[in-house]
Amino acid sequence: MMTEPILSARNIKKYFNVSGGTLKAVDGISFDIYQGETLGLVGESGCGKTTAGRTIIRLYEPTEGELYFEGEDIYKLSRHNMKPIRRNIQMIFQDPYASLNPRMTVEEIIAEPLDIHGIYKSDKQKRERVFELLELVGLNEEHALRFPHEFSGGQRQRIGVARSLALNPKFIVCDEPISALDVSIQAQVVNLLKNLQTQMGLTYLFIAHDLSMVRYISDRVGVMYLGMMMELAKSEELYDNPIHPYTQALLSAIPIPDPEVQRSRKRIILEGDVPSPIDPPPGCRFADRCFYAIDECRKTTPEFEEVRPNHFVACHRSGEIIEGTATMTK
């Protein structure tokens, strides 16, 4: 595991023209995802994590950047040439209520990708494949002829997973696959995703805002803030030794389900809100809320550098923070 990157993103940007300027939803992010691993992507609402996920698989046309999937820059391909690649790249959506067509039966939903790519000539084979997929995600044949409204949230998300697996993909973008589900059901879906990964050698990009779940499922985790990647490291490393002040604040804000631990913790409470991504000022995007910010931070955007082996951070003061010599400015 972790030898060849299956996917390499280089300086990906996605801007939207809105009234009042350019909304820089994703502003130059680069990372690799290795065969068989799960890369978690976290950040608060509006940080661009969903846009990043969608731009990577070209659901949105990128503004700039290169994306190598198995060595090939897929942004250079025509729509027609993209189609065979799409078989290998699938997506699981956030809302299991909105992402399944209420007028289609489960069988039709799961078979749709098979039809589009013309995988099976005979209906019998196709039906067998649908049954196989249902079994794989813990449902059964009986469910095939039912409609989405007959299922609970967790079961619907299983149908979404079955659909994404129909074409035997190599890489799946999971965009907040569990945030619409109850706690006890979340665990079911996460366990399912993990088991399928081991069984089928899948690679995931797991986008979520639930940081404890991301830590649990991901090999490495990237933290985004206002369209930029702030920190990227192995998940244990990131959660144990966060370097970027934003990551530190984010982690300290997760409430821990243990009254003694939670009440004795020292939390970093950030002031204010995430600023607007429309024509953001130069410099570090986090500078206004950062408790370590110096003048330099407001002038130049820090480079996203490897400050420790496999630990990338975009912060001017990362060196001082690691050594523990950084002084707070707030």
Partner: protein
């Protein structure tokens, strides 16, 4: 501790085309002065219905109080008329809703929405009320309150809107605040800000809080007492340490185990609860958790156990804890 709210044997049902849905089935609990009581459980367990029935906010019909009493400082809310309720809502009991995006009026300036409450409950002139509205925004740490008071909800971020909601709930110094998933729609950093704000206001105004949430981290942070609901009933109740350190009902145990902990190894698999809660059209005769319980016994199917007290405040309703049950230890992986 003096109790300001006593819920006694409350039953709330909904009449629907298909029959009666028994959403809240005979629950009793108390809320003390300045106490924070958390109600937890999965969607559909009746926690929000309980909260809304304390405020008489359920649409009636289809909902109706089937039995029981809700005593707020000794007076039964169930028996109050609409008119009497208007004097209680907002001034004595207030509510903060889950979704700050949809619970503010989008066509009214934020200040005006606060002023409305002030004029109604505190009999202020509109000028005084406007001044007070700015103070209220300041109280909940909205920056530049003088400017913000004249803006519309869409000009506020989610966290700021939730602050406005809290300001609205606070206008008349309520004695009891019901917060129904107050931070569920918010990001963790904003959630931390809002929870701190609620604690701070609770200290300042000596208010009691009923907190409804499914986030066990938030419960651990905020509450004194925890009520665990399942299928319209209370299955376990105790103080926060009882519930987190010494849970007795298999449902509580499972619920706690299905949350990933930050110190968890990545190869450990998360425990989860198989299946879904029962339909409350025809609630089960025995324990409602029977179908999903690892320890289910014959007796569980037909009879719901009475509360078994583990200490004066901590009880659970499970046959396993009955003195005559075999000594089965359900070990928690702490």
């Amino acid at each position: 501790m003096e109790n300001i709210l006593e819920v006694k044997n409350l039953q709330v049902s909904f009449k629907t085309f298909f029959g009666e849905v028994e959403a809240v089935r005979d629950i009793s609990f108390t809320v003390g002065k300045k106490e924070t009581v958390a109600i937890v459980g999965e969607s559909g367990c009746g926690k929000s219905v309980t909260a809304s029935s304390i405020m008489q906010l359920l649409p009636m019909p289809p909902a109706f109080y089937k039995g029981g009493e809700i005593l707020f400082k000794g007076e039964d809310i169930v028996k109050k008329t609409d008119k009497e309720m208007q004097d209680i809502r907002g001034s004595k009991i207030s509510m903060v809703f889950q979704d700050p995006m949809t619970s503010l009026n989008p066509t009214m300036k934020v200040g005006k929405q606060i002023v409305e409450g002030l004029i109604k409950h505190q009999k202020l002139t509109s000028k005084e009320a406007h001044k007070k509205a700015i103070e209220m925004l300041k109280l909940v740490s909205v920056p530049q309150p003088e400017k913000r008071v004249n803006q519309y909800p869409h000009e506020f971020s989610g966290g700021m809107r939730q602050r406005v909601m809290i300001a609205l709930a606070m206008v008349a110094n309520p004695e009891l605040l019901i917060a129904d998933e107050p931070t569920t729609a918010l990001d963790v950093t904003v959630q931390a800000q809002i929870l701190d704000l609620m604690k701070e206001l609770q200290d300042k105004l000596n208010m009691s809080i009923i907190l409804i949430t499914h986030d066990l981290g938030v419960v651990a942070d905020m509450s004194d007492k925890v009520i665990v609901m399942y299928a319209g009933q209370i299955v376990e109740q105790g103080n926060v340490n009882d519930i987190f350190k010494n849970p007795k009902h298999p449902y509580t145990i499972k619920l706690l185990e299905s949350v990933p902990r930050l110190d968890m190894k990545r190869d450990e698999s998360l425990s989860y609860i198989e299946g879904t809660p029962p339909d409350l059209y025809i609630p089960p005769k025995g324990c409602a958790f029977f179908d999903r319980c690892d320890y289910a016994m014959k007796v569980c199917k037909d009879y719901m156990p009475d509360p078994e007290y583990h200490s004066s405040e901590h009880y659970s309703r499970c046959w396993l804890n009955h003195p005559l049950a075999n000594d089965i230890r359900h070990e928690r992986s702490v």
